[in-house]
Amino acid sequence: MESMAVLLLHPVDKYLEQELDRRFRLLRLVDVPPDGHADFLRAHAASVRAVVTSCGSGCDAAPIDQLQRLQIVACYSVGYDLLDLDRCRHRGVRVTNTPGVLTDDVADLAVGLAIAALRRIPNADHYVRNGRWKANGHYALTTRFSGKRVGIIGLGRIGLAIAKRVEAFGCPVSYYQRTRQAYYPTYTYLRTVVDLAANSDVLVVACALNEQSRGIVSREVMEALGPGGVLVNVGRGAHVDEPELVAALSEGRLGGAGLDVFDDEPDVPEALMALHNVVLSPHVGSGTWETRKAMADLVVANLEVHALNKPLLTPVV
């Protein structure tokens, strides 16, 4: 059987590129200068049956429209919000993503950020590296994590994985989302995010970004969380009113934060850089080689079963 022609739209990890190259006839749009894209697509329009894209870096609809024989778009990401699903459906183009495989990583980092923020671990590291332990003695006391009330916005896959972890630290878990989850009676459901914040020491954002959840952590929510409270965001920057967050942290109205995501990445508000009560990380929720490999394997596996006319493993469309 002749191997399927697969077009790579965006730069991806070396591992994925290598695995695609081993199994398929790989065409790299990424290697073509932008002014040559149209010619390149025209030349291969008759043969390309599959496209691999990382929707995190933006999906341009134009190449997909030009490929008349396109059968499948395999996203190297969980999110596909930048892809026009209706158009794909209309053209009979299948779409796959990589759900599930990054749940553990994001949950691990959320708990790591909560501990790091309360116990000020990056600050400790900085303190020791600068020779201040020797010069000034011990740093001030920091706050215990075990037993703290943890509130989770969004009890989906990631929220549940966070809940399972923090339970082992003796932390009571509450959550907010649009509907109560009947399966989890040990977690307390609260009807508003303000109520959740008022009953939490650590508030974790783990929901999807949509019109209902944009700006869900408002000034009012931060006031309810209070000077002893810590916000952890492993969702999206736009879940939080970022100027209010910066003001609340700077003025001590909010106790601390562990932030993996920001409104205008990779730019981070300058005012956060000087604060000791925050831990900043560069959107690395799924940034482990194990998880990126699992995502890559899923992309390849979806293309392989598609080529064999078997059911897709993780279809979106």
Binding site: A116, R119, G137, H138, L141, R144, S146, E265, V268, V284
Partner: protein
């Protein structure tokens, strides 16, 4: 531990009908301990004790980790009890205590939760490079240089715990919830324990991705983690130490990190602290910390309760709350 105020000596009551019992201080008291203990006891720094006090004092308190040597113990002929405010009592000459029939108490369970939390925090920070990533963002590296290098997953990593005592057991429970299989090494297998036992630290290290040190420092455990153990842990392995610096051959640890014999480390304790090997300062695969694992207000209150409880029990002739087996 933060340096506290000087003890208040209450000379007026010492000659009264119910004089406060004397408790000698091996090192300065901290502010958190002062009100409760000075209300019940006449607190006398051991260096300031006059001959009569030294001859009659029955209890000695250590706040941080001052060396309580056989000389100190032998200079106190009436001594019956050393109350330590720490989980590990390696600063006390236990052989001298045994010989003299002096009992020793430690912090019991007061620090277990914080020490276990911190061990997990260091493990996640070392594998996911939390502290290095924070420094990267603060230096402006994200906007200037783009995506941060991939880190290592935590969930599912094989965790080996050296010393499955109060702290080790809590580390095990926490990391099991991350989907990590847990194994341990200690002097003997724990009956009924669900985790796999290894008879040597080397065998445990060979079967672990993360090796956590949470055991007491004794003659047997000193330099337990030597080059051989680190080679068994391997290039992908991470060492987490919330025990004592001397559990590790520190110069060898520095070499192994530099040569890539092990992958990384999360260290809260050092052999000559507060001196830290300066070679570590330039490494981004280590997380360094200033022996703060248990320094929270919650732990301070917990240890005060157990210190005060042990002293009260001792002077009332009741069983001690957290005696150390000598």
């Amino acid at each position: 531990m933060a340096q506290g105020g000087q003890p208040i000596l209450d000379a007026t009551e010492s000659g009264g009908p119910n004089p406060k019992p004397v408790v000698l201080l091996a090192d300065p008291l901290i502010d958190e301990f002062e009100p409760e203990l000075s209300a019940r006891y006449r607190l006398v720094p051991v260096a300031d004790a006059d001959a009569a006090t030294a001859a009659s004092a029955r209890a000695l308190l250590t706040v941080d980790l001052p060396a309580v040597t056989s000389d100190v113990i032998d200079a106190l002929p009436a001594l019956e009890l050393v109350v330590a405010s720490s989980a590990g009592v390696d600063h006390v000459d236990l052989a001298a205590c045994r010989r003299r029939g002096v009992r020793v108490t430690n912090a019991g369970d007061a620090y277990s939760a914080d020490a276990a939390d911190y061990a997990v925090g260091l493990a996640v920070a070392a594998l996911r490079r939390v502290a290095a990533a924070d420094a990267f963002v603060r230096r402006g590296g994200w906007s200037a240089r783009g995506e941060y290098p991939l880190a290592t997953k935590v969930s599912g990593k094989r965790v080996g715990i050296v010393g499955l005592g109060r702290i080790g057991a809590q580390v095990a429970r926490r990391l099991a919830a991350f989907g990590c299989p847990v194994a341990y090494h200690s002097r003997a297998p724990k009956p009924g324990c669900p985790y796999r036992f290894f008879a040597t630290a080397r065998a445990l290290a060979a079967d672990s991705d993360v090796l956590v040190l949470s055991c007491a420092l004794t003659a047997e455990t000193r330099r337990l983690v030597n080059r051989e153990v680190m080679e068994a842990l391997g290039a992908g392995g991470v060492l987490v130490n919330v025990g004592r610096g001397a559990l590790v051959d520190e110069p060898e640890l520095v070499r192994c990190l530099r040569e890539g014999v092990i992958g990384g480390a999360g260290l809260d304790v050092y052999d000559g602290e507060p001196d830290v090997p300066p070679e570590l300062f330039a490494m981004d695969n280590v997380v360094l910390s200033d022996h703060r694992a248990v320094l929270t207000p919650e732990s301070m209150q917990g240890v005060l309760d157990i210190v005060a409880g042990n002293l009260q029990a001792f002077f009332a002739g009741r069983p001690l709350l957290s005696p150390v087996t000598l």
